[in-house]
Amino acid sequence: MIAEQENYKHINGWGIDADPKNEPTYPIKNYTEDDHKRINWDRPVLQQPTVEVLHSNERPGYSAVIGETLPPSGLSGKLRRYAFQFSESSYGHWLPLLLADRINELEGIADDLRNGKIPNIMAERGWNAEWKYNRLGVMRKIAVGAVAVGVIAALCKLKKRS
């Protein structure tokens, strides 16, 4: 504080009303006065990535530990790499990532098929539980579906006739 006072002595009244107790984040945060040292803390041992890891352009490099699961791949991976050119404040970052997620789902299905596995989408969506606990809801959905199919079929027939 004293050193800072020296730096700002050209400003009349600098710091005169500063009140260290006016700390609205307490007790969520213990003010350590380290914030103005910025990111120059003593870092933990750095993990060296062994796969491709994207990092936010709002930081100079990787964090000390790194999640190395599921490196970007395929078309979704291309989109993710593109997204990481933009800051977290930009739609250029988040919208391509969301699009990549949707494409990634299709890539997942393709992967399954390539591995000779037909994904059981109903089971994955928990339809066993739906049948057990919401049978009425399931029947309603089936009924609505059947009616819709019936209506469409009838309309098609009508069209053909006319």
């Binding site: 803390w41 003593d42 933990p44 699961t69 599921l70 059981n120 969506r125």
Partner: protein, 382 residues
């Protein structure tokens, strides 16, 4: 090993995966004995969190046994039974040093706006989670805490997230003795926030939700008032009236981006994804709190924008306080509360489901079937 595996929105299954390895000298590998599904997992499950890659294993609430430790680990040994906070935190960056363990700067390369979280998409670091037989736990000397002698393991499990989050929601609300506290959301987090509000001296606690079975539960569990917003017509007006036209002293948002109750928010936030989920509860919280009041947010929202009546925040002089819970900071106090019987977290568990049935478990919790409040996944080898 067997692990939960995300395949796309509303699609998860159990699948084999390589057992995780030590990748950093301060890592541990933990054999999971049980884990939970959290309301936060639902945001992932519904496909709302950007960079949720197919193949990810979710799960940030888990306990287990230390199976292997890295060469620099000193505070843990193989065989220890540990509860693992959901935040991955280094303990030595400026933020961890200030107690902001939910905002560590050395645990997530992919984003600066959120710290590392187990099994919570690549936006939260790209770590696999604990809905599996084994999980890699970075910074093993910092996060994992040996389960205290005699503590029920279900209680320990809920100390990894739900209890600290509910407690911090009440703590951030800056409750003064006698305050009227309104909690939006009667999920596990809201229930715990309502319970904890009393510990800070609340004079009146009101919970708002639309699921009758949860309202009924919270009414007796947290000894509070509970109202169904579907039958209130206008929850904000109701709160104004019930506080003598003053507004609540504090409002807590324990709902987050999967809120219902407003067609505008549901369509723009959840169907069209034009905003980062539906901010209905936050909207209500801002409008129902008194002038100069405090809104405490623990409900989770996505990284883009939400429709919030920010003009009212300014004009009413509202203080907003929000964060991911800092689990490690709160654990010592919360362990005391549990041991003294002031908090009894395990009573909120309604379902125990084997990990193999993870697809059904997610659907039950997401669709709120079978009066589900908190589901626990039991790992086979446990």
């Amino acid at each position: 090993m067997q692990a939960m595996n995300y395949r796309g929105p509303f699609r998860v299954r159990i699948e084999n995966k390589p057992t995780p390895e030590i990748l950093h000298p301060n890592d541990a590998v933990v054999r999971v004995t049980r884990s939970c599904i959290c309301g936060s997992d639902l945001h992932l499950y519904h496909g709302m969190v950007p960079d949720t890659r197919v193949g990810t294993t979710f799960g940030h609430e888990f306990i287990g046994v230390v199976e292997e430790i890295g060469p620099s680990v000193q505070n843990l040994k193989v065989g220890d039974q540990v509860l693992v906070p959901f935040n991955i935190a280094c303990g030595q960056c400026a933020f961890c040093k200030q107690g902001l363990y939910g905002n560590c700067h050395e645990s997530n390369s992919m984003a600066t706006a959120v710290g590392g979280i187990f099994g919570y998409s690549h936006t939260a670091g790209g770590f696999d989670g604990g809905q599996a037989e084994y999980v890699r736990v970075p910074y093993a000397d910092v996060g994992p805490t040996v389960i205290p002698e005699g503590m029920d393991h279900d209680d320990a499990l809920l100390l990894t997230d739900v209890v600290p989050t509910g407690y911090q929601a009440a703590e951030m609300a800056g409750i003064k003795m006698g305050d009227t506290v309104v909690v939006f959301g009667a999920g596990p987090v809201g229930i715990m926030a309502a319970k904890c509000a009393w510990l800070f001296g609340a004079g009146r606690v009101i919970v708002i939700d639309h699921l009758e079975y949860r309202l009924e539960f919270v009414r007796s569990y947290a000894q509070c008032e509970a109202y169904n917003f579907k039958s209130l017509e206008d929850p904000v007006l109701f709160i104004k009236k019930t506080t003598d036209w003053f507004g609540a002293d504090v409002c807590i948002d324990a709902v987050g981006s999967d809120a219902c109750g407003s067609a505008l928010h549901t369509i723009t936030g959840k169907k069209l994804m034009l905003q980062a989920g539906a901010a209905t509860a936050l909207h209500w919280a801002v409008n129902a709190v008194k002038k100069g009041g405090i809104v405490s947010i623990v409900g989770v929202y996505g990284p883009t924008d939400n429709l919030v009546p920010i003009g009212n925040v300014v004009n009413k002089g509202i203080t907003i306080r929000a964060n991911q819970a800092s689990v490690k900071r709160l654990l010592p106090r919360l362990i005391e509360h549990v041991q003294a019987g002031r908090l009894n977290p395990k009573e909120i568990i309604t379902h125990r489901i084997p990990l193999e049935e993870v697809s059904d478990a997610y659907h039950i919790f997401s669709a709120k079937l079978d009066n589900c409040i908190k589901p626990v996944l039991i790992t086979g080898k446990a």
